[in-house]
Symmetry: C3
Subunit: 345 residues, 3 copies
């Protein structure tokens, strides 16, 4: 329960109102209920503005209200105002403080101030940990890892030996960082010789890694996740991959060995990138695509194999038209046969 006046003051919102209102909760435009604060972001959401049951709504300064039963809060950027309110008043990860008795921290590990270590966590020999690490229950960090400041590790995470992690990195439950890359040489009978994976993983600042995502260590050198990258759940990053700054990868996508993505790239869900591929900055790959050749220009690509999206959509339209084209060809064949008969050919 927060006074509307406080929220308006905090976000610089103006609103017309006579009474003392209280915000009970936050909600989406579509599902918000009485007492909720919400926001109107843009075009396609306007239909929900007309029906929402929320009580308070951030809108743009130039918005013309059509509903008199809502309290409108006028701001420059409704979504940003709403996010600021979420961040300040509603968002709270579970508390964790102190070091639990069941935590195992090797005597040779060096942990900065402010460590919060949950039950049964393991920080192994030779680790160097910055300040304010929060590591939740049952997560494991193997030998000689380096972790920066203000990182957050959720339960049941595994970080293998020698991984290097920057500041403000968030790792969700079940993620595995630094498992062996998938590399084998073949004997003549088909049996396999493991190629030792002697490299590591480097994760720069401000990266967030989703639940059950896997990032393999390099065969030689480092697999590198650059500053600001966001990985969703169940993503696979193979050995020696490099993901460029601020790129985002959606769930169940995979990047194969030694491929490099530029900055500000996006992989939608269930995308696959073959090995030794380069993606330029700003490349966006639509869902379920397979990329088998390097892409040198920013743009949107789709398909298996992925093509520039206008091309893919044109091909898809032709594909849908195949039965009609088949009929046309059969009709032309019949007419040609008639003409041939007519000319005694």
């Amino acid at each position: 329960m927060i006074a509307l006046a406080e929220i308006a003051l905090f976000t610089g919102a103006s609103y017309e109102s006579n009474g003392d209102y209280t915000v009970k909760n936050v909600g989406s435009l579509e599902h918000g209920v009485a007492g909720d604060l919400t926001y109107l972001s843009g075009g396609s959401y306007f239909k929900f503005y007309e029906t929402t049951s929320a009580s308070f709504i951030f809108v743009k300064n130039d918005f013309t209200p059509t509903r008199t039963d809502l309290i409108h809060l006028f701001v420059e950027k409704p979504e940003k105002a709403f996010l600021a309110v979420l961040e300040k008043y509603y968002f709270k990860y579970p508390a964790l403080s102190g070091v639990s008795k069941s935590a195992f921290i090797h005597s040779s590990a060096n942990c900065g101030e402010g460590l919060a270590a949950g039950e049964n966590i393991v920080i192994s020999a030779g680790c160097v940990i910055g300040t304010n690490l929060r590591i939740f229950h049952n997560s494991v960090i193997l030998d000689n890892c380096t972790i920066g400041n203000n990182c957050l590790i959720f339960p049941n995470v595994t970080i293998r030996e020698g991984v290097v992690i920057g500041d403000n990195v968030v790792i969700h439950s079940g993620a595995v960082i630094g498992a062996d890359g998938f590399g084998y040489a073949n004997n003549s009978d088909g049996s396999k010789i493991k190629i030792p994976q002697v490299g590591n993983v480097i994760i720069e600042d401000d990266v967030e890694i989703g639940a059950n995502t896997t990032i393999d260590r390099a065969a030689l050198g480092s697999t590198i996740i650059r500053k600001g990258v966001k990985l969703d759940n169940l993503v696979q990053i193979a050995h020696n991959v490099q993901i460029g700054e601020n790129s985002a990868i959606s769930s169940q996508s995979g990047v194969s060995g030694s491929s490099k993505m530029g900055k500000n790239c996006i992989l939608a869900g269930q995308v696959g990138i073959a090995d030794h591929i380069d993606l330029a900055d700003g490349v966006i790959i639509a869902a379920k695509s397979g990329v088998s050749k390097s892409i040198k220009e920013s743009g949107i690509y789709w398909g298996i194999p992925a093509k520039e999206i206008r091309n893919s959509k044109r091909l898809e339209a032709h594909f849908r038209g195949l039965p009609e084209m088949s009929d046309t060809v059969a009709d032309l064949k019949r007419r040609i046969e008639e003409l041939e008969k007519l000319l005694n050919k």
Copy 2:
């Protein structure tokens, strides 16, 4: 070793036999060995009836045996009779009882009777747990979760704060329930602002969740898995998704943010559903499909993008016929050129 007479009595089966038989084990029709009990379900399995090495077989009441070396057990529904035998005599999860010394249960958590808590489990502050929870080793429940009666949690599961779970829910190892949804706003330089995910996950009664499956918490409100839903391994359920009653999702499929599936839907393996999609009740999506538009009628759909399956199959047939059609077109072109020459055009 169970007396055949006991099994016949339990399942109401009739059989002709002179001796006292003993069932050694259960087996499939295809791979069963001497002493095994098996069953004949239907059509395509008949070939295995002719060759099976099993000794005892449930068949339909109206079945006419052609093998004299098998003992036939006549019942109305062979599969159900066999399942009942499995359930009663053969199916047993590992024993777990009492609360291990290494379990951590916060003093403010409220656990019902019959709790079985394995090694190193964590039940955090404010949790309210029903009766007969069995939670296996190294699983973690964060703050303020509510769990119903008779639930079963296998090892290494993570349940994040505020998740609500009904009765008779089974969660397999490595599953992560309630990790943050994948939501960011963009700064102009491409760097990302996290959209706080302040919602939760609600899992209703009789749900089963596969190994290493991830179900994200809602941005606002709840991600909801309705009564009787079954999720296979490595499935991704994004924030604010709703899965309708008794729907089933096979391995490695993913449902993107805010999409809603109706009742009794099926996603086969490696299916992707885009965000903000609605699927009607009874929609079945064939393997590897990508659904990019809402589907309003029950039926079977396939393809990327998914289409009604008869349409997809017709298009696939035309696709396979492309080389032939290309030859036909080339032939027609040649014949037209001849006709044109003939007519001095």
Copy 3:
């Protein structure tokens, strides 16, 4: 820091040199730096030979050097020589020895000599474990499992009851072996009856299992992973599947219930195999393919559904040519109409 002379002696390499050289590290041909040892394997890597900054390089006996600033080590098989050096001098998993105080080993479990058991591991009742098992922190083995000699289990692995594992098996973090198969019968209202999964998983010698991979137990009988199989991360193996000797499955691929793969098969990334499929020995499935019919001949297959790859590629070429074919057909139609007019038809 290793003397080059020692490496040459160990690998049987010959080289021309006057001084006493020291190898600082190993590196790839592309990214190696001064002091690194690297190798030249074949054709497409030659461009990196021309630019590498590494100092020492294994090359074939018949290679003609064009760079005088590199020390060339002549051997019969450069890659094998390099792998031998990696194996001997550079590859080292983190140390683990003794049994931690926080390990829980049931009194009825029988562990061979040389057990190294990390923090918070669980070995349950009735397990029979060979010699030299290294099981890292927070991994769990449930009741009555059998594990051979010299196995390695990384952190946060779950092995369910009754699983049988051979010698020299490596299981990476987060893998789940033996979770219930996904099997249900339907009631008439759509609600589901669980088919008890009473089988197990058998993993033969020399298998390696990737991070967060899931291998389900059989409904009846066993899911079987044959000798020498290698599974990448996030792979799904369903109940009753059999994977043949020395086959390799790349990340995010899945094999559905009861399918059987032969020996020396390869699934590239994100492949799906439907249920009850047989793949012959030596079948290779290219990335993102879906296999819906059994394949009886070795070879390379691609597509959804998968086809022999030359056929797939021919179809893909025709697919790309659809806009042109459509134009051709329109042109032919116009010309036929003209001819018909001319002939007064």
